[in-house]
């Protein structure tokens, strides 16, 4: 966190500033394009540079997410729950760092503390759903015939998450966590105005037993990347929380070429700080229902 980037006039120790990179396949590469953009702080002056991810970076992220998907979905629900809970634990121990990032991007300290606390609690809330959502959303179906019929609720696959600018940490977590619960892998695009906190979150994910590729985080320009995300045939679903109406329309139009699911949070779900933002039906929007018929006989 680079709040101390300014030149010091006293004989303080000179700080080591962090280079903010992308998070792809468990590693932290720079953008293959070599592009960066300056991230403004509270007063508008730049506090750091972030990578301006390119279409190729997006492609690499989708590839990593696809590779990791069957492994993540194949983990036991208990294990996925433990890993999501571990993210909360590690976030808690690094909460002052997350708060610092948010304050540097212009949030008041009180608001930042609330946001970080709610984000941690949201991980905990969704962690507990990993081994429960199927009992709520799926189950046995009473068909009229000699069949045992049940519905499983399975991950859609690779989910693109477009985070909004407001609540740059909480909103991102609020959409990423429910996508991860059933075994999707995620390619997320951080808030454009406050992207640094997302990269710190990536560092938390990298040290929370989340397998490489399960979450991939890009910083960059929404208008540039979302259309490619909507086009990509290996992205099964795209959450457009952070896209404006025009970009949503374009994403929807492009998504039609692959019958991609376009998920848009309801107004209640957009109340990020409220419990209305969290629901098993948000998980359901990142799933496919699979119904299995089996004859009953001796």
């Amino acid at each position: 966190m680079n709040a101390k980037r300014t030149k010091s006039t006293t004989r303080e120790r000179l700080t080591v500033n962090k280079t903010y990179k992308l998070f792809i396949g468990g590693g932290f590469p720079r953008s293959e394009s070599g592009r960066i953009f300056a991230v403004p702080g509270a007063d508008g002056t730049p506090i750091a540079n972030a990578c301006l991810a390119s279409r190729k970076d997006l492609r690499a992220a989708v590839e990593a997410a696809r590779k990791a998907q069957s492994g993540w979905a194949g983990r036991t629900p208990y294990n996925r729950g433990q890993i999501l809970y571990r993210i909360a634990e590690v976030s808690e121990s690094r909460s002052s760092e997350l708060v610092g990032e948010l304050v540097a991007s212009g949030m008041t300290k009180a608001a930042a503390e609330t946001e970080v606390g709610l984000s941690i609690d949201r991980w905990v809330w969704y962690a507990g759903w990993c081994d429960k959502y199927l009992q709520v959303l799926g189950g046995a179906n009473p068909v009229s015939g000699p069949y045992f019929n049940f519905s499983l609720v399975e991950p859609t696959g690779v989910v693109g998450v477009v985070a909004p600018d407001e609540s740059p940490l909480l909103a991102l977590v609020s959409r990423m966590a429910p996508a991860l619960v059933p075994g999707n892998t995620v390619v997320a695009l951080a808030s454009e105005t406050a992207p640094l906190v997302a990269i710190t979150l990536a560092e938390i994910l990298a040290t929370s037993d989340v397998p490489g590729g399960v979450v991939n985080l890009l910083t960059g320009n929404r208008d540039e990347l979302v259309p490619w995300m909507a086009d990509h045939a290996d992205v099964n679903s795209i959450d457009v929380s952070g896209a404006d109406d025009d970009l949503v329309a374009e994403a929807q139009r492009r998504a039609s070429a692959t019958v991609k699911r376009v998920v848009r949070p309801s107004p209640e779900e957009r109340q990020w700080a409220s419990t209305t933002a969290e629901s098993p039906f948000v998980i359901e929007s990142f799933t496919e229902t699979k119904t299995v018929w089996h004859p009953i006989g001796r």
Binding site: N141, P142, Y147, N149, R253, V259, F281, K290, T291, W293
Partner: protein
């Protein structure tokens, strides 16, 4: 040996057809504003049955206006218990007039009377009965959140199961408090129009269901009408993509039930006679005009020869012909256009070097028919293996291991259904887990039930019909802060 049966034709006397039909708007059959018409024909004879209106934009507008008024003034705020009673009435009346509907379905669409009588109509009535019971229990369907109707639903249904698809669309939409503008397919509009008599008999308030007939232009007018809040479409993947793209940027909700290229997977340890029956049912049910048809047979190498030989023997005994005959297994192809499409893909199979097998049955001289057809020596990239044929044409591939079967089964852009034939329980569940398909039939195929969710993965669409999951496409879920003990 070809078995000969005496003809056992079902009588058509029970059906009273009018010469021409208007549109059902605001509880009345009205003349269309559009003067364009089309004749719907009996595909088994080529004879015209009746003249149908091709609803134009003004007609669609009138239907949407009626649906909106019924939504705001009557249906949305009606107690769930009363909506339930209307749906129960419809279910009971439909069951009561089931034979009439079945005969008309077969006349208009060409499917064997045995199927319309034993499958389409009973399940259609059951669907209304099932969702009737949800109408007054919606607050228990989605724990912790209360479901609200969306508004006016535009529903566009295909020609392969006209009555059944109407039921699948209407029942959950009405149970949840939405009103409807429904468009049946232009080649099979008659049962939907007959259904309006049941709405009248049931006393359904005017405007709750409106039926406009027509082809693609009518569908497009519904999709693009600003007064429609939700689109539910069943049909081809190509049209589904077009609809998804057309409503981009609007607040319309969408569910799509599109094409498929299902794998029917037979392991060496399967009960082979049952599997052969399942393969036949999988691909020849309703002439293969089934989005979830098992159109790719994947058979494990050790039994491939045996299965194919039993399958050929079984094909010799299939009776193809007059759909009104109660002995008929394969009826008429729904339209000349569809027959041309099937023929084109069969030719593509031949051109790509596949080996064709057809039984020595004779086809009727009138109408549109196609022999049950097997293709072997195919590769995964062949058009007949990748594209939906929507006809009685089966492509046969082989596999060695379960992993290979899964890879091949999942190797299409679709993901609607799959079948698995094996006597090994753990393998069944492993396969069911790995297959990317919305419905998996183990040791059976093409089973449907109102309580059982149906719908696809990937390019087979999104949203489910049937069961509790079938309510979700027709409701808005409003989370309640700190509700449910939070």
């Amino acid at each position: 040996m070809i078995l000969d049966y005496e003809p056992a034709p079902e009588s058509t006397a029970i059906v009273n057809l009018r010469d021409s039909y208007g549109l059902y708007i605001n509880g009345e059959m009205v003349d269309a504003i559009s003067s364009e018409t089309i004749k719907t024909v009996n595909p088994a004879t080529g004879e015209p049955l009746a003249e149908i209106s091709m609803a134009g934009p003004e007609d669609v507008d009138a239907a949407v206006t009626a649906a909106r008024a019924a939504y705001e003034n009557v249906w949305r705020d009606m107690p769930g218990r009363d909506r339930a009673k209307y749906l129960y009435r419809i279910a009971r009346l439909l069951a009561e007039r089931s034979r009439e509907f079945a005969v008309l379905e077969t006349m208009d669409g060409g499917k064997p009377i045995r199927e319309s009588r034993d499958v389409d109509l009973p399940i259609a009535a059951a669907h209304f009965f099932y969702y009737a019971g949800w109408a007054d229990k919606l607050d228990y369907a989605f724990g912790g959140v209360s479901p609200k109707p969306i508004g006016v639903a535009g529903q566009i249904i295909p020609w392969n199961f006209p009555m059944l698809m109407a039921a699948w669309k209407l029942a959950p939409a009405l149970a949840t408090g939405n009103t409807v503008v429904l468009k049946p397919a232009e080649t099979t509009p008659l049962t939907a129009l007959l259904l309006t008599e049941i709405f009248d008999e049931a006393g359904l308030p005017p405007g709750v269901v409106n039926i406009v007939t027509g082809a693609g232009a009518t569908g497009s007018a519904i999709v693009n009408h600003p007064g429609v809040d939700k689109i539910a479409f069943t049909g081809s993947t190509a049209v589904g993509k077009l609809i998804q793209s057309q409503i981009a940027g609007s607040s319309k909700r969408l569910t799509l039930e599109l094409g498929g290229k299902a794998a029917n997977i037979v392991f060496a340890d399967a009960a082979l006679d049952q599997a052969v029956e399942g393969i036949v049912n999988g691909i020849f049910f309703n002439q293969g005009h089934v989005c979830c048809a098992g159109s790719r047979l994947l058979v494990q190498e050790p039994v491939a020869e045996e299965v194919i030989s039993r399958l050929k023997r079984r094909l010799e005994t299939l009776r193809v012909g007059d759909p009104m005959d109660k002995n008929t297994d394969l009826g008429a192809i729904n339209s000349a256009e569809q027959l041309a499409k099937i023929n084109e893909l069969v030719q593509a199979g031949l051109d790509e070097g596949a080996t064709i097998y057809q039984p020595a049955c004779e086809l009727p001289e009138t109408g549109w028919f196609h022999k049950p057809t097997l293709f072997s020596d195919v590769s995964q990239s062949n058009r007949i293996v990748q594209e939906e044929i929507f006809g009685p044409v089966l492509s046969i591939l082989t596999f060695r291991t379960a992993e290979e079967a899964v890879d091949k089964a999942n190797n299409t852009p679709y993901g609607l259904s799959a079948g698995v034939w094996t006597e090994k329980g753990s393998r069944i569940l492993w396969m069911a887990q790995k297959l990317r398909a919305g419905v998996v039939w183990d040791n059976t195929f093409n089973r449907f039930d109102p309580a059982s969710p149906f719908g696809g993965f990937n390019e087979s669409g999104f949203g489910r019909e049937g069961g509790r999951a079938g309510l979700l496409p027709y409701v808005e879920l409003e989370s309640v802060a700190n509700g449910a003990g939070r």
